[in-house]
Symmetry: C2
Subunit: 456 residues, 2 copies
């Protein structure tokens, strides 16, 4: 056994601006969270967001599940209609809705017809075009939406008028919840120049849900992100793609990707700031704020995994490239044996090394979706990550445990430090400059009980 005790690995976290874990409604939007009677509990289950004035630019990321739910299919169709160059990934939006309690997934042509009917109701009530509506849904698969009740709630809520306060976006966060133990929100602010060069404070705020079925590549999570910056839909799309690849594609609760995952980023332009241009310094600064919000929400989601008691953050460095680093981080947080070990506060680095050794990069389709070009995605998708045990270093909560061979450590003391709300696992592959992180949670008896009893 190696007798040297190497220094802990540096705990590199992305250099991002601060966020507050609160909902803030940016200028140019109105919002409401209300009850439509979808959930048998009577809890809030309908979220509505309407853009004031002209439709806002919007970019979206949807599940890559090959059995997408009706709201995903309809939203992609509407985006294709509103911006034919966007391939269903960006376009324009006047009104958005989200329903909780019924996923409207695997419901066939009837389910799609239900979703179309709601789009027409929303468009009419909000005074926008049907193709400028977008929808999300979450809940049971295979059940039909109660269309009449939802339609009545949409009409009544819009007739009353939507709110303009931060509390109204917080109500949206509440209405998104299913088995989430708490609502999830994050807000970042920054200063951008207006067309004359004068400074304008802008904001980007996100509200999200997602607990069960969370896995890399956007598994059952829904997120509205709203901002008052101005940007063309294609610009928003190019800003959003890499952010999703580094945040939501890197969370895992149980390895299952949902049929419904959706992230929408809508930009009203109501701040008066000059429109963002691709590759400008201002766009890069905005992208960092956007990533800070996305990372905060992703962390909140992983921490609230079904039955979870501990957030697991795995940070990987020294990989051949970032795609490889993210694959290793994801493999570690997705490992059932690592998750169970963290639950038992067991510094079982052997399971971590084994999980890293199994890492496979995201498939071609996901890398394309994250913005890689065709050739790079083909060359790098679905490949085992090259790892050399002799160069591998692992530390847990700052304690080196492996550096090519086992490093002696005080197991009882480290176990004690693992009894925390968050456990940090750092892995260095000793090969290159690639970095990445992933978020997961421990595997508990409560997860099994919850998912054995949650019934069709």
């Amino acid at each position: 056994m190696s007798q040297h005790s190497p220094r802990p690995l540096e705990h590199l976290a992305p250099d991002l601006p601060p966020v507050e874990e609160v909902a803030h409604l940016p200028r140019g939007f109105r919002a409401a969270g209300t009850r439509a009677g979808i959930k048998s509990t009577g809890d809030a289950d309908l979220a509505l967001i309407v853009v004031e004035g002209a439709p806002a630019a919007v970019a979206a990321t949807f599940t890559t599940n090959r059995v997408p739910a009706a709201p995903v299919r309809l939203s992609q169709e509407h985006l294709e209609a509103s911006a034919p160059d966007g391939a269903g990934r960006y376009g324009y939006v006047g009104a958005m809705l989200s329903t909780s309690g019924c996923a409207n997934a695997a419901t066939g042509p009837d389910g799609l017809a239900d979703q179309r009917a709601l789009a027409e109701v929303l468009a009419q009530a909000a005074g926008t075009e049907v193709s400028h509506t977008l929808a999300m849904s979450t809940g049971l698969i295979g059940t039909r939406l109660p269309v009449e009740r939802i339609a009545a709630a949409i009409r009544a809520t819009l007739a009353d008028g939507l709110g303009q306060s931060d509390a109204d976006l917080a109500a949206v966060a509440e209405a998104l919840r299913t088995t989430d133990s708490r609502a999830k929100a994050a807000t970042a602010r920054l200063t951008l120049p207006d067309p004359t060069g004068a400074p304008v404070t802008v904001s980007v705020s996100g509200v999200a849900k997602g607990v069960g079925m969370i896995h890399p590549n956007m598994a059952t999570m829904l997120c509205f992100m709203l901002t008052d910056v101005a940007a063309a839909p294609g610009v928003l799309h190019r800003l959003l793609q890499p952010v999703v690849a580094r945040t939501w594609d890197q969370i895992s609760v149980d390895g299952d990707q949902s049929t419904n995952d959706t992230v929408l980023l809508a930009a009203s332009g109501a701040s008066g700031a000059a429109a963002l241009e691709t590759d400008s310094d201002d766009a890069r600064r905005f992208a960092r704020a956007l990533e800070a919000v996305a990372r905060s929400l992703a962390r909140q989601q992983a921490a609230d995994g079904e039955g979870a008691t501990t957030l697991i953050n795995c940070r990987v460095s020294g990989a051949p490239d970032d795609v490889d680093a993210r694959a290793v981080a994801r493999a570690v947080v997705a490992s059932s044996l690592v998750k169970a070990a963290v639950h038992g506060a067991d510094p079982n680095w052997g399971r971590m090394a084994a999980a890293a050794g199994n890492a496979v990069t995201a498939p071609y389709e996901v890398l394309r979706g994250a913005g890689l070009d065709e050739e790079a995605a083909r060359a790098r998708g679905g490949r085992a990550v090259p790892i050399t045990a002799e160069r591998l270093r692992i530390d847990i909560q700052g304690t080196p445990v492996f550096a090519g061979s086992p490093v002696p450590f005080e197991a009882a003391a480290l176990s004690e430090r693992m009894r925390a709300s968050e456990v940090l696992i750092r892995i260095d592959l000793g090969q290159g400059d690639g970095q990445g992180e992933a978020f997961g949670c421990d595997l508990t008896e409560a997860y099994v009980i919850e998912n054995s009893e949650y019934s069709t």
Copy 2:
């Protein structure tokens, strides 16, 4: 909702000869299972198999984990030495050992030196060359083997002489166990011609272990398969590859692939049957017997997954090809939500459809290992399986539940039929002739408890 109730999908199982779930020691081998003091329980933990006379032909499949254990690395090195054309996948063997209780994984150069020392002891005691020894190991990662105790046990057991009865191979099965609740064995027999054309009865028998950390692509499972047929190492290799792809690569307990997985197939030639030639009818008949043994062992392993109460068998048809079908079957049995639903006897076909929709084919490296050529493996590895919800059909225990849209069924009655030792999920993609199956098990509270408490 669809009002028709389609006929159940056919339950195509591979057309394989019968097997007995018992150990049988083929001619040409001697075996022993004994105690070397590795396990603190005092249970059997050392298995030894020696070939009588000249070294036997052997083919092997090893873990694709990038952090392979010392016995895996040494066995590959020895195979490369004994058959330079085999790339560490086939060669010759005179003696084999397996140790249980310590994986000798992530132990660095010292662990490899330990394994070399044991190989020298075994070679000397068995009267064979060091490069004609092979080794497996299973148990805790990161701990060192008690080399002196194991060496003493090897010398003492070989000095006493190994046994020649079926009970001796059964003792090997016992010595392989770690958290297995029972030993696993299977035997098939067939008749082959001798060089004069006269019929000879030959056998192929396997003993295996594997419970935790079991996942597609050979996760912590060890298997010795022995046969008295005659075949060149390269012929054995080409017979073994597709069998592993259809059986062990298709079992999943918890999604983690071990650092130690190994399957060895050794052929003594002692039956007197004529040597098998690639692509001959006799080779194909032998391959079916081999697959029957492998499939039986894979089923026994999945059924004995840690904490499991129910074996899950997913059979997929109508896929574009067999690689896609196997990916879908694997995705379904590996889904935590499907596994938890089966534990709760919940006919939650929505989770099955969602899991199928996430299926990604095995990575390039695994497809190459399964015998696909370079171009096909590059084109098909790590790709999302194309699925069209409208063509998808699912049935559970023979009851149609989805056929493009939900099919009405009696939930209580189906739930009752799911309270069984085995649950069969049939999925048809409605696209082509590709077929495949996978085996998994339900996810239980006991799994979590066992793996939170199993300590480093």
